[in-house]
Amino acid sequence: MSARGDHETAREDLAAYALGALAGDERAAVEAHLGRCERCRTELEWLRPAAEVLAISVPQQAPPRRLRRRTLAAARGEARADRPSSIRGARPRIAVAAAGLAAAALGVAVAVGVLGDDPGVETRTVPVEVAAAPAAGASGELVITGDNATLEVAGLPELDRDSVYQAWLERDGELEPSSTFIVDRSGTGAAAIAEVAGATRVMVTREPRGGSEVPSSAPLLAASPR
């Protein structure tokens, strides 16, 4: 399809995209277009708060106390379990944004430590290639901004609850673990990849939940950031 036709189609679908009402192939097309069209990104940013209004303008109900107990107990149990520390460090973690009462008073007790945005840094995109049969039909892009990147994939098989996809960085012939991610039911997913500068390849494998320190399977996808 022509660039213009591609733009018009994506633009018409932005509202449904913000509402989460696109079928998988439509969603993948809009996401691919958003990666290269600033006008559509800006328009989506304009529409997105309306979807947030829909999320909060529902009858407010107090969650049962047992839900808090259950959820926090499960989190505590997982925190105690032995998981690779380097993976924990590499993944975006929920962290206390600022200590003490000042943050609580602002109502900003929690933030998620992730890659920052720097409008002054150039962004470039490299394609993600299929490296093994289980990922046949998958596609994706590695969007690199400065030292960091976002890996966006489509068409990957959905995983069971005990598995995740994990990204790896190949640097000086060695593999370093990076973020884990899952895909939604349409096969679409994304991961933030920190410290991509200097890496010769970015790869994706399937790993047990929590991630691994060394890959337990052959790469499914690969991209060359340089």
Binding site: A21, E52, P92, R185
Partner: protein, 179 residues
């Protein structure tokens, strides 16, 4: 437990306390069932805890990110629970349309926190009926725009147009503090 893990659990507790009310309410609105809403809320928070769902600050606030995860998981739960998917989902679509037509006052609604309910009368209620229908089916029903066009018997382009007008209107009302 190591100190780092301890701090992460504390941060997660704060995160839970700040967002669980909105998350559970949204799940309840979509699923119409307190037990299912509980399961989905727990699932969503634990996926956030595990950082399986990456947060990108360029895509909005932490709250809208978290509620987006809740919404998607609630919709997934509907689809999982519906074995013969298409016919039952379309039945559910009819139910959603009835709900939006104003048959709202059930016993569950009595549990609504009065103040919040007064403040948030429901963005959908302020839309023209044809736009409200599209929003109801798309956002709370989890139907794709193609499915909605078939259910309502209108062209796909009409659904796209209504979805956009609805979001633009909600955005404007919100900016005026009316939602």
């Amino acid at each position: 437990m190591p100190l780092v893990a301890e701090r992460q659990v504390e941060a997660f507790e704060l995160f839970y306390d700040r967002h669980a009310g909105a998350a559970y309410s949204l799940a309840h609105r979509i699923l119409g069932d307190p037990k299912l809403a509980e399961d989905v809320t727990q699932e969503a928070f634990l996926s956030i805890w595990r950082s399986d769902s990456g947060y990108d600050p360029a895509r909005g606030s932490v709250r809208s990110w978290a509620l987006g995860i809740v919404r998607n998981r609630a919709i997934d739960a509907i689809r999982r629970a519906t074995t013969a998917r298409r016919p039952k989902l379309e039945l559910r679509g009819a139910e959603l349309l009835d709900r939006e037509r104003g048959t709202e006052a059930g016993p569950e609604e009595e549990a609504i926190e009065r103040e919040t309910a007064r403040h948030l009368k429901g963005a959908v209620a302020q839309l023209p009926p044809e736009q409200a229908r599209v929003i109801e089916l798309a956002y709370y029903g989890g139907f794709s725009q193609g499915e909605i066009a078939r259910m309502l018997g209108v062209p796909l382009g009409t659904v796209k147009g209504r979805a956009r007008l609805a979001l633009e209107r909600i955005r404007a009302l919100h900016a005026e503090g009316l939602t």
